[in-house]
């Protein structure tokens, strides 16, 4: 008679095994034997997503009532703390049942809460969410946040991910500054606030994509990984130097991505040849640039000159309206500057215009350690001309490979 080893595994090991199954399959183990009847009920992680149940009916009301039935059922039979709860079903709209589930979770020490409303309006989060003091990770998609006046912050929150959300300016600032342990912040497609004043002393990772007027890091000196995308090209001209203001509070920055129109934002105001304090830790830079805009090119060069330890560079050309026609940017060779550590370069989406070629030429001549440069134009037009020019450029690095990729 073979041993039944699986039924005698320690509880947390069984939890780990059952966590790898959909909630439906985990619950089905209840019928295996009397020992198994409630093994699933102590699962600390509950995930209700597209896999948990395949709805055969396309009727919205049927799907909705089935989903509500399943979540109610599982929560009622569940026994013990619930550390992680994820609700993300493609047919899920903002149903008021969510409020009472969050209330239930707030009474069971919830640590990770993920809610994704795929369809419909922004779902207004109930006030009980803001009393979940054990929250470590909060992830919301298509929600509206309006905390009660008694809200004093999430004291344990380390990671916050808000996408397609609405919250007021004061609410946003209060939220960030009242979560002292916050290490990771993701904000995508938000509305209700336009000034980003980031006060988060433990913040290390910051990823943002949206429309905003102004950004400053008042108290975020630990920031190491930053990715910023400004989706709107209209700019306000309030500051004397956006570039200086941006970098003055980022001494530890290691990885930086400048996307969409953010470089344009940085080019407003005074742009020095070099930053007063070099970014010693910056080893990866990705920047989207409009090569027709002189200011943007100068801003990008300023950043490059101020990053002595840069190893990887990615440049994405933004084929903009042909603005200042005939503007030739004379990039003087600066003998004081050399990208000693630069090994990998990717240049994508270019069209072969003069500023782009000058830029590439400059990079090649100032990077003695270059190993590989990949060039990929936007279209095939002028591909041959581009190649001929590339061939001519002098290279400071003898082992540099230049790889031309077809668009």
């Amino acid at each position: 008679m073979e041993l039944d080893e699986i039924s005698n595994l320690p509880g947390h090991v069984v939890d780990q095994i059952l966590s790898q199954l959909s909630i439906r399959e985990a619950v089905r183990t209840s019928v295996l034997s009397s020992k198994w009847r409630y093994k699933w009920a102590t699962l600390p992680n509950l995930v209700f997503d597209n896999e948990c149940y395949s709805f055969s009916s396309l009727d919205q009301t049927v799907v909705k009532s089935k989903l509500v039935n399943i979540v109610d059922h599982v929560l009622l039979l569940h026994n013990g703390p619930i550390y992680k709860f994820k609700l993300s079903h493609r047919d899920l709209q903002g149903i008021s049942d969510i409020d009472r589930w969050i209330l239930h979770l707030s009474r069971h020490s919830i640590q990770e809460f993920i809610l994704e409303i795929w369809k419909g309006q922004r779902y207004k989060m109930p006030s009980c969410l803001f009393s979940c003091q054990h929250l470590i990770h909060l992830e919301l998609f298509n929600c509206l946040l309006k905390p009660p006046s008694t809200f004093k912050g999430f004291k344990s929150l380390k990671s916050l991910d808000l996408q397609h959300v609405t919250l007021g300016q004061a609410v946003f600032e209060n939220l960030i500054s009242s979560c002292p342990l916050l290490e990771r912040l993701t904000l995508m497609n938000f509305d209700g606030f336009t000034y980003l004043n980031i006060e988060a002393p433990n913040l290390q990772f910051f990823d943002i994509g949206g429309v905003f007027n102004d950004i400053s890091f008042e108290n975020a000196f630990q920031l190491a990984v930053v990715s910023i995308g400004l989706y709107d090209k209209r700019q306000s001209h309030a500051n004397s130097s956006n570039l200086l203001k941006f970098f003055v509070h980022l001494p530890h920055i290691r990885r930086l991505e400048i996307q969409s129109y953010f470089l344009k934002y940085l080019s407003i105001g005074f742009v020095p040849g070099k930053l007063p304090n070099p970014c010693f830790n910056l080893n990866y830079l990705s920047v989207r640039i409009n090569f027709n805009d002189v200011d943007e090119v100068l801003t990008a060069l300023c950043i490059l000159r101020s990053s002595p330890n840069l190893q990887e560079l990615e440049v994405l050309a933004r084929p903009e309206e042909q603005a200042a026609v005939g503007t030739v940017i004379n990039i003087k060779e600066d003998n004081n500057w050399s990208c000693h550590q630069l090994r990998l370069v990717k240049i994508l989406g270019i069209s072969g215009i003069k500023p782009e070629l000058n830029f590439i030429n400059l990079l090649l001549s100032t990077s003695p350690g270059l190993e590989k440069m990949t060039v990929k134009p936007a279209t095939n037009n002028g591909g041959w001309e581009l190649l001929k020019d590339l061939l001519r450029f002098r290279r400071a690095s003898v082992q540099a490979e230049i790889i031309y990729m077809d668009p």
Binding site: M1, E5, R28, Y53, S54, S56, S57
Partner: protein, 238 residues
């Protein structure tokens, strides 16, 4: 050139293993002992046999050397190695789980638990019991009670070809229909079973009929066959 620091591990059956310190430290348990300075002599591991310990050490060796490089290529190779490594007998798999748990080797515990989960996925309860030697100690009434308690997880949907109508049916009822019973037992546990040859009207009748059969069986009266039910068992005719 300085020699690489080694630690000595002793299995429950007395086998001695000399392992590089960095490899041994993949085990948080051993790491703790080393850092607490308890590792001068051989570290006894009374809960792990020599055979299993050698496997764990193999795993740790492979995963220590790969922790330096971050390229996707080595990740793929590592995954392939893991798949090959974990292709073992069931009792060895469970011994590895217990060893990974006791020695606190997170990667190995994740790998072994995922493997067991993959074995459970998409199997019927009967198949799972057979695979893991689980004895079903429920009485029929108790089993019925459990299925009722978690009805949503045991429902099977029958739908006709046009995805127009679906019928939620309790599993025991669906099994009345021989064809569907076979589909269930052949692992068709995706919760929706398409029935291409049957229109909604007929399907409705059949289900009604099955309900009566199940109820009749419970009350031990003589079941009467209907035309619709015969049709289902002969898919050509429906």
């Amino acid at each position: 050139m300085s020699s690489v620091k080694k630690v000595t591990l002793k299995s429950s059956d007395g086998e001695i293993f000399e392992v590089e310190e960095t490899v041994a430290m993949e085990s948080q348990t051993i790491k703790g002992l080393i850092e607490d300075d308890c590792a001068d002599n051989a570290i006894p591991l009374p809960n792990v046999t020599g055979h299993i310990l050698s496997l764990v050490i193999q795993y740790c060796k492979e995963h220590t050397s790969s922790s330096d490089s971050n390229s996707s290529k080595s990740n793929e190779k590592l995954k392939a190695w893991d798949t090959q490594f974990i292709n073992v007998d069931l009792n060895v798999l469970f011994d590895l789980i217990m060893a990974a748990n006791y020695l606190n080797v997170k990667g190995l515990l994740d790998l072994t638990c995922q493997t067991v989960a993959d074995m459970i996925k998409e199997k019927t309860p009967e198949q799972i019991r057979a695979m893991f030697n689980i004895v079903n100690d429920f009485t029929p009434e108790e089993e019925e009670e459990v299925r009722r308690e978690n009805a949503w997880a045991f429902e099977i949907s029958l739908k006709n070809n046009n995805v127009v109508d679906t019928f939620e049916v309790e599993e025991s009822m669906a099994k009345e229909l021989q064809t569907i019973k076979n589909m269930i037992e052949d692992n068709y546990t995706d919760s929706v079973i398409p029935l291409h040859n049957v229109t909604s009207d007929i399907l409705e009748l059949v289900i009604e009929d099955c309900k009566k059969h199940v109820e009749a069986a419970e009350s031990e009266s003589e079941p009467s066959y209907s035309l619709a039910s015969k049709l289902i068992d002969d898919p050509l005719k429906a």
